[in-house]
Subunit: 251 residues, 3 copies
């Protein structure tokens, strides 16, 4: 039995919009602590690690941990129909194998979505990525600006860091862009660590930065030809973290 | 001779926009009571019954009833160019067989449109559909919400009613949506009659609900596997009514 | 050596947007008086004559006149990324043969664009077109309205003038539009000369009228089956002039 009621419609909508841009279906884990989704995109380049915490719900009833496979694009199509002011009740109907989404305001609207039979093998391991050498907390708008700048000239970006600065640059058909922020600059809240340098796909980055709606700041962790981790957090409400594999430069 | 001057530019634009989404050309009847259009879409599934009343015009001169065939999409393309504040004069130039649209503000802009040779047989009979068993007056926003919800999961909707409630539901690839309003609920102004149940195309319904710009409430009439009638009315100004044939469920 | 700093980001963006709609690459002339571009579209139907004056820059350093060939679409893609409040520094890096665009605000963003090897033969002669017989200063909104009206019915427009009025008309598949402004009407600041009549492409006109963002009024010069000249000017800041070849009517 699972039944959870949420008034923070925006949190749910914004999270699912960003995730559905990356991943079409996933196995949601319904636990006592909240709703969790860990899933990788089909190319295994980007990984989503999402938790909507029990505290954010008005009521939250669960009697045993359950996993439900859902089409995330369809889920988002339904959630888009929610208006602010609606109360959304999520529940699992085991008899019909449906995931139910009820939206109540002046009227009651009942949506249902089939529960998909997804393999648990599909849940990737988030792992302990202890090879991050660099860490920074930035305004999401700073990172978003650099990503959009880079998209003007290329489809990939090189991110280079040392303990005192973060550099984001891209080279395309002879055009280029280069952006640097120093530790202590406006919009940079924390910067520490040592040298890091990796190249990433702008297509994935531009989708992941969609999580800006959830948090004003983002924590970025980097290494040497190593994945990038981005953490968008609202304490006691939502964690939306991404791990993005590097592009290995061909010489 | 026909010449009519209107300042309510929005009424004319909004009506033609909605009608042009359904029907590409039609035979307008210019009468002493106003401008009328009765036309069905090529598939004969949806019927439009439109009257722009003589009272809405600043001046209205006609010496004999006339029928003019017009391309409604082209008419709307021209009307889109009208600004609020313009005075529009509609007239028929019999010599050149043109329908004239003059827009006057600081400047004068004269548009003309060819009068098409459409057969009068093309005017469908609106008929007396006396087999409606159910009738309700709703806020257009309530009906529009239910239509948009249903479009998320399917391309057809089942509308079921009894004297006390109206249910709109849709089933698609295993997903579903179900919406009910009771008599007396917010946004429901009148509900009467007995059982009714029919299935309708969401493509047509979503185009017809475009008439929401003309009226805040809509009258809906239903029967048993029977057409649906929707009436959007501004008293003494405009009537835009639709009749939509049901989809017959295949068992 | 060329280095110029500008805070009027909008002027630069708006100019390049309009020009890039017409012309994909051009040879910019960097002179003591400012930045100039004279270029024709590949079909040689429309000619752009653009000057961004030295006075509009915060600082402007040049030691010898230089010509730099640039892809204007790519230049505009980069300029789009500038925000109001940014200071933009344009410079030429002769060593790497790059045109540099630096945007400084809280952060510094460095863009570079390759300098193209364009032939000077590609600079068309603006010439002294002394066969204009008619001249008017209009609000750009008046000209824009007439162009958009005409686009509803056709892809070409006939502009007819005498000393006292300007007529813009278009005929398409039996539909038509006709617009006249008289000397002295609202939005007409000056009108003089004698008879003029020519036909022009609406595709080009609709792109050229994009320069409305630069100036509230436009000077239009016409002749008899002769090119049209349009001048958008902000004194001491920017001149964006167009010459558009007439379409010769086939009888």
């Amino acid at each position: 039995m699972f039944k959870a009621e949420i008034e923070e419609v925006g949190l749910l909508k914004d999270s699912m919009k960003t995730i559905s841009d990356l991943i079409s279906e996933g196995l949601f884990q319904l636990t006592e602590d909240g709703i969790q989704l860990v899933a990788a995109d089909p190319a295994m380049v980007g990984l989503v690690d999402f938790t909507l915490k029990e505290e954010v719900f008005e009521t939250y009833e669960i009697n045993e941990e359950t996993k439900v496979g859902l089409n995330i694009e369809n889920l988002y199509s339904i959630l888009r129909r929610a208006n602010s002011g609606d109360t959304i009740t999520l529940s699992v109907d085991e008899d019909t194998s449906k995931f139910k989404i009820e939206m109540v305001n002046n009227s009651t609207r009942d949506f249902s979505l089939p529960i998909l039979n997804l393999s648990e093998d599909d849940i990737p391991s988030v792992g302990d990525l202890d090879q991050f050498t660099f860490n920074t907390d930035l305004d999401t708008s700073v990172l978003e600006g650099a990503i959009k700048d880079a998209m003007v000239v290329s489809d990939a970006v090189t991110i280079t860091a040392d303990g005192d600065s973060l550099n984001i640059s891209a080279e395309g058909d002879q055009s280029g862009v280069d952006f640097t922020v120093e530790s202590g600059a406006e919009g940079v809240h924390e910067m520490s660590g040592s040298d890091a340098k990796s190249m990433f796909s702008l297509d994935y980055l531009s989708k992941m930065i969609g999580a800006k709606k959830l948090a004003d700041t983002v924590t970025v962790k980097l290494g040497q030809d190593f994945p990038m981790r981005m953490e968008f957090t609202q304490p006691d409400q939502v964690d939306l973290n991404f791990v993005l594999a590097p592009r290995i430069e061909e010489d």
